[in-house]
Amino acid sequence: MDLNLTPDEQSFRDEFRAWLQENVFEAKTVDELKRWQRTLFEGGWAGISWPKQYGGRGATLMQQAVFQEELALADAPQLIGVIGLSLVGPTIIAMGTDEQKARHLSKILSGEEIWCQGFSEPNAGSDLASLGTRALKDGDGFIVSGQKTWTSFAHIADWCLLLVRTDFEAPKHKGITCLLADMHAPGVTVRPLRMMSGDAGFNEVFFENVRIPSSQVLGKVNEGWTTAIAALMNERANLGTGVQVLFRRNLNALIARARSMNRSADPIVRQKLAQAYLELEILRMNTNRALTSLSKSGVPGPEGSTLKLYWSEMNQRTQQIAQEVLGQHAQLSDFDNGMWQYSYLRARGNTIEAGTSEIQRNIIAERVLGLPKSY
């Protein structure tokens, strides 16, 4: 056990931090955000986990965590190409054809191609495998019709990693295919989906007789479920490291606010803030343990579910604490720019998005603890 960074990790951190200090800039619009990803790419900091032969840096998991932490510490803009970088790219590298690799990988890195992920549907949420978007064989390709939902970045995406049903007779997990879908193709429409927090972080995507050539099947026809699971594992393993620093910043602001409002001497408030603090510290430790374990095993497993369950439930408790500590002010849209109202509302989605807490507990029970399936 050694909780210090290794010299390699430390120099990776130093190097990236120095680079960030030189290069980070504020970015809000899509153009600015694309420019930010291009800047990262040109500095050699895009796709750091990708193998070097595909333009990546071959970074270790621990370095990836350091990378996420430094981005957040530097207040760097959102990574607009995150789906492509962390989800689609690695999957194309693992399962794509040479043509697919040549066509997409470098554009994902440079931010020229923005990707989204077309998995969830209105009637296939927790039960993803019951998806109903249909792809009918048509010559050398498919005609796709159906609706996806909860699709981040769809409104600005050029491409979509799309799950469709290609065999309607097979058991539900066996008839799914994974396609690389052009979002600019005729028949694709995107509608922003407004969340209860007021902002539109997601979209609905409608496919009406959209033609997708066979060359854009990722992996094999009717074996898309395996692809999807691998992609989701990546998503779950990644999430913890990114959100952590945001939580830390939020909690620091809460403590500072409690002090400035003279609330921090109240013994009850102190108990609550300390609880929020210790739970966040334990998130950091759990994440580091999971990273160590993943680094050794190499294969993302159900650890992701444990982390996701922990941080989503934790953040809801912490946002409730923030409301209690700051009192009625926390509800105002013009108090601290409405950040407490927003983070309270937004946190409500945490235990639903990217797999509900119930689904995470099922996964833990069945895949980690080996209990029999519940349904």
Partner: protein, 343 residues
Amino acid sequence: MDFDLSKPQKLLKQSARDFLSRECKPERVRAAMATDTADDRALFTAAADQGWTSLIIPETYGGLGLGVVDLAVVAEEMGRACMPGPLFATIFASAAIVHAGTEEQKRKWLEPIAAGEMRATVALSNEFVLDAGVADLVLRFTDDGIEEVEGATFERTPAIDETRKLYRVDDRQSCLSEGRQDCLSSTIDIAAVALCAEMVGGMQWILDTTVAYAKTRQQFGRAIGSFQAVQHLCADMLLMTESARSATYNAAWEMTPLAVSIAKAYCSDAYREAANRGIQVHGGIGFTWEHDLHLYFRRAKASETMFGDATFHRERIASLVIDRQSSAAERSAEMLARSSSSK
């Protein structure tokens, strides 16, 4: 003992529900919410025609002279419909006038309020004043009663619950009153009970909506309501809703500071927790702006802190119970006394 609504109260409740399901549909709540004031004047007037602004106003002043239980009955249905606008504030103000107003003030204000012609509110501080922007009368507590806040400007402060707007009173005025704790607290206690009843109604809406969804939504080839995880969330919601209802009706009947604080402390936590569970059972759809759940989720948060949050009321309970109790024996004697005497 009869811990159930009387026949007239049940009728009142049913007529309130019928009225609101006709007149206060979600579309109308959303339309009001989208305005700067959340004020639907026609809805207010229609509710006043139902007698809701005059519920607790004595008959001498043109009111119905009903009790707090009757008020709670109506408020529960208001909460169930997530009714927007200044009706709640006006009822609050009517309680303030009844409890702290001079004879002259009562004559001047209660009749127009009862008739639905005047909308009113109470400023308990310079911040978080309900619906002040559309009130014809803004009151504050003084050392010996209440008075109108005159010549003030009110600035809207957008907040989490958009169905009832909050306002700030400008600094030239001070709306804090240290005196007359008796009138102040008996007024606030009535308002707190009405709020608790609204909260119970909100919980009931969430429970009904969630159970209905759980019966129809299919995942993994079955209704999600057949999954234990969902069943147990719903069962807990029922238990919280019914417990909140018991505490609220008990408080409305007893109207003691202890009973009120018990109700408000419990409802503050329970409404939020029920709203949380309701959204969790709905999954993604429950997190959208389109679904009405978040109106209740927001109302739950606003109600949680209004008139004192759970921590405040627990401390009030402690001061009433722990500090008063000198020994277990004494307390037992007191309990004996209570159980043998009628109210």
